[in-house]
């Protein structure tokens, strides 16, 4: 479960709030899609949930653990797939996963089992002994996904996870997201691919100019049930421009 209460953030170099009084709760076993135009505050929100940025005000809880008060315990519950693929390029894939395993305290045997499982799923097994610098964009993305799952997180956060993935891997990723939710874990992901959000998510939230402008199930957001999520998104986010 993720709970954000009245969270705000202004960057040091900016005059406007990147996130403004965001209150949101994502339940266990739920896939939550986070939508918004460029610069709306999606990545800032994700960075605050993952502990990369500190909010100026408000509180964030991960499975009831306050992130500000107990950051280590809170972070250890989270698996994070960033959007920039800044993985350590001069390491081999397996070295990076070993590093992540050590940081999250995963025993070797369990780590190997998880790596084998996910590497087979994403057809990465043969590439793990290669330098990450030699990977394609999609392969780095797959490695980030595997790294985010090896410690079996209770909360899985994905920032634009489908970018660069081939159709098979995208399919596997969507299946994994559903499997995680079915296990009772929380999946929070941001995406620009509205079709995917429409098909995969149990609930969606739309952020614009740092404020949450809509949050509910897709059916509830669509008043008459016929409007596409795309038109709805365009209508909601056009107001603030």
């Amino acid at each position: 479960m993720i709970r954000l209460y009245n969270v705000s953030k202004t960057y040091a170099k900016a005059s406007q709030k990147a996130v403004d009084g965001l209150t949101l709760e994502i339940k266990d076993g739920e896939i939550f899609g986070f939508l918004g135009p460029n610069g709306a505050g999606k990545s800032t929100t994700i960075k605050m949930i993952t502990g990369i940025l500190t909010p100026d005000s408000g509180t964030i809880e991960i499975n009831g653990v306050n992130l500000a008060e107990n950051p280590i315990a809170a972070k250890s519950l989270v698996g994070f797939v960033p959007d920039n693929h800044e993985v350590y390029e001069t390491l081999k894939g397996v070295e990076y996963l070993n590093f992540i395993g050590a940081m999250y305290g995963v025993p070797s045997a369990a780590l190997k089992e998880k790596i084998d499982e996910y590497a087979s799923l994403f057809e990465m097994k043969n590439a793990l002994s290669d330098m990450i610098g030699s990977y394609s964009h999609g392969m780095k993305q797959k490695l980030s996904v595997i790294a985010a799952l090896v410690h079996e997180p209770k909360v899985w956060i994905l920032d634009e996870p489908l970018t660069g993935l081939d159709p098979q891997s995208a399919f596997q990723l969507k299946r994994l997201m559903r499997a995680q939710a079915d296990k009772g874990n929380t999946v929070f992901f941001s995406s620009h691919v509205i079709d995917v959000v429409e098909k995969v998510c149990d609930r969606i939230g739309i952020i614009n100019h740092g404020k949450l402008v809509a949050v509910d199930t897709l059916d509830n957001i669509r008043a008459d049930g016929k409007v596409s999520l795309e038109s709805l998104f365009l209508t909601i986010t056009a107001d603030g421009e």
Partner: protein
């Protein structure tokens, strides 16, 4: 031309810009920076002034001599080349933005020209410092005329051209060799360090062969100083007369600067301009045919040649700190931008020890060398290790890039560290331990050389190493905290990120204060040893120094650990 100037402007601004934002109280920040600069000025003014005064007297000795003047120009260029060669490589040959630039609707040669221009502009900074501390005092000492000072600004712009050409000629095959090696990152970094050591050795050999260190062929200075200095001057001038005409652009430039008539000035000045223009033409002739290949090399560097291996791998359970140190080391050594900078510092102090040995250990016409004279003294074993320890602390702390930029070198990957469920104090401890370990490699080599070459007793060498381990750890804690307070992130060119950073200066200050404290505490024991000749005074001195080292490293670690989280959270990536 519009595109060229736009590129130059963008590239120049880009390298000094940090993408990280830190929320700070601006007044406090400015105050701290001002205090730092004042302290630095107080500490380093004596060194800078002594160099300038030495050159002033050289000018007085030689007068407005074109050979000696052009030799000083050459020294300036040597310094620019030494400090600038890797700036050229990282600016032009191993760049992270090649993929962004190659897709622009700009010809490859315009991109290369813009990159050379930026490298040149950076070299101007080093040139300016060398002109102020070498050429200007020489002119004053030599009583040079107005022409010297009027031509000096032109010299500032002409001096970096030769280093730029030589640097490019060295860097091109070198970069091709690096690219040919492929993905063996350790070998690549070692190769870079070897080239760096070779360049330093070449520079020192050139100075040595010109008789800069060896002295005149005539008798003893103390017997007849005037004759000695006269012979020394004549001997050096003779040597320079034979060598400097080969560096014709420098010789012509200095001829114009020290000219006494307008005709001589004009002849020298325009010849120097023409010859330097030819140098630029040569630079472009050498590099432009390969410009697209040069840029492509940077792109291919990170993406090509993925070897096909079957996925057999081993996993090992390690502690967080150990695993972090291992990964940090592997990442750094393999990074084309950071690797060389981080490990080349290991070579500096051992090279200086060897250089000192050659300078002090050379005998003159069968007379005992300075080192031989010193080593006979009963105080040698007490003072020599302390003096060299001071050098080691000073050089070791200020050249250890691993410890100076532990956070800045994370660059965009810092967000990975921030998302890990590991106390940041542990991550910093791993970084400090790695930096100290690398510094100890250099210190071990230096101590070994000091024992072998300088005849310092092995147990003093061991004591020096122990003190350096403690002082190094403490200093790395301080420099790590400084970098954490204000990291330089989002760079495309790590080398340039370092140039405008004040952290290496701050590290020198930290080392200077450490050394000063150690020396002040050691002096009474050396005096007691000199008066009463008891070995236990030296034992006590080293025990005290180690105690101070333990106290310093413990306090520094505690301060760093206490502030780590606060500073870490402020960084916005």
């Amino acid at each position: 031309m519009k595109k060229y100037f736009a590129l130059v402007g963008m590239l120049f601004v880009q390298q000094y810009k940090s993408r990280a934002a830190i929320k700070l109280n601006n007044k406090k920040k400015r105050g701290g920076t001002a205090v730092l600069y004042v302290l630095l000025a107080v500490c380093f003014a004596p060194l800078a002034i002594s160099v300038a005064v030495g050159i002033y007297f050289l000018g007085k000795l030689f007068g407005a001599n074109a050979y000696m003047g052009s030799f000083l120009l050459l020294i300036c260029q040597g310094l620019v080349l030494m400090f600038g060669i890797h700036a050229i490589i990282s600016n032009v040959f191993v760049v992270k933005d090649a993929d962004k630039l190659l897709c622009l609707p700009v010809r490859a040669h315009v991109i290369i020209l813009a990159k050379f221009t930026v490298a040149y502009l950076n070299e101007l900074i080093t040139t300016f410092v060398s002109v102020v501390f070498l050429l200007l005092p020489f002119g004053i000492g030599a009583g040079a005329g107005v022409g010297f000072y009027l031509t000096l600004p032109f010299a500032l712009f002409l001096i970096p051209l030769l280093p730029l050409l030589v640097g490019t000629i060295i860097a091109m095959p070198f970069s091709a060799l690096i690219a040919a090696i492929g993905k063996n990152s350790v070998l690549r970094t070692i190769l870079r360090i070897l080239i760096y050591v070779a360049m330093m050795a070449l520079y020192m050999y050139a100075m040595y062969s010109l008789g800069f260190f060896t002295g005149a062929n005539s008798g003893n200075f103390f017997e007849n100083p005037e004759v000695y200095i006269r012979d020394l001057t004549q001997d050096m001038e003779e040597r320079l007369r034979g060598v400097m005409p080969y560096f014709h652009p420098d010789y012509m430039l200095m001829s114009s600067m020290v000219a006494t008539s307008f005709g001589d000035w004009a002849a020298g000045f325009f010849a120097a301009l023409g010859e330097n223009a030819m140098l630029i033409a040569l630079l472009f002739a050498v590099s432009l045919p390969f410009c697209r290949r040069i840029l492509a090399m940077s792109v291919e560097d990170g993406s090509a040649r993925r070897k096909k291996t079957v996925g057999a791998y081993k996993l090992k359970n390690r502690s967080v700190v150990r695993e972090f140190m291992r990964v940090d080391f592997k990442r750094t050594v393999g990074d084309a931008q950071v690797g060389f900078q981080s490990f080349a510092g290991i070579t500096v102090m051992p090279v200086i020890v060897v250089m000192l040995y050659f300078v002090l250990g050379l005998s003159n016409n069968g007379n005992a060398s300075f080192l031989e004279v010193m080593s006979i003294s009963p105080l040698y074993q007490a003072i020599a290790p302390m003096v060299i320890l001071a050098y080691m602390a000073f050089i070791g702390c200020s050249t250890n890039v691993l410890g100076l930029y532990p956070v800045s070198r994370e660059n965009k990957s810092l967000c990975i560290l921030k998302s890990l469920p590991v106390p940041f104090g542990k991550i910093l401890l791993a970084k400090v331990l790695l930096a100290t370990a690398v510094m100890l490699v250099s210190d071990f080599l230096s101590c070994l050389l000091i024992v072998v070459l300088f005849g310092v007793k092995w147990y003093y060498g061991a004591a020096m190493l122990a003190v350096m381990a403690l002082v190094g750890f403490g200093s790395m804690c301080v420099t790590t905290l400084l970098d954490l307070k204000e990291p330089h992130l989002g760079w495309d060119n790590f080398n340039q990120g370092l140039k405008n950073a004040k952290k290496s200066w701050a590290a020198m200050l930290v080392a200077f204060l450490c050394v000063a404290a150690l020396c002040v505490c050691s002096v009474p024991f050396i005096v007691l040893y000199a008066l009463f000749d008891g070995w236990y005074y030296l034992l006590l001195m080293w025990v005290l120094d180690m105690g101070l080292g333990v106290a310093y490293s413990a306090v520094a670690y505690k301060v760093m650990n206490g502030k780590a989280s606060k500073y870490f959270e402020r960084i916005e990536v």
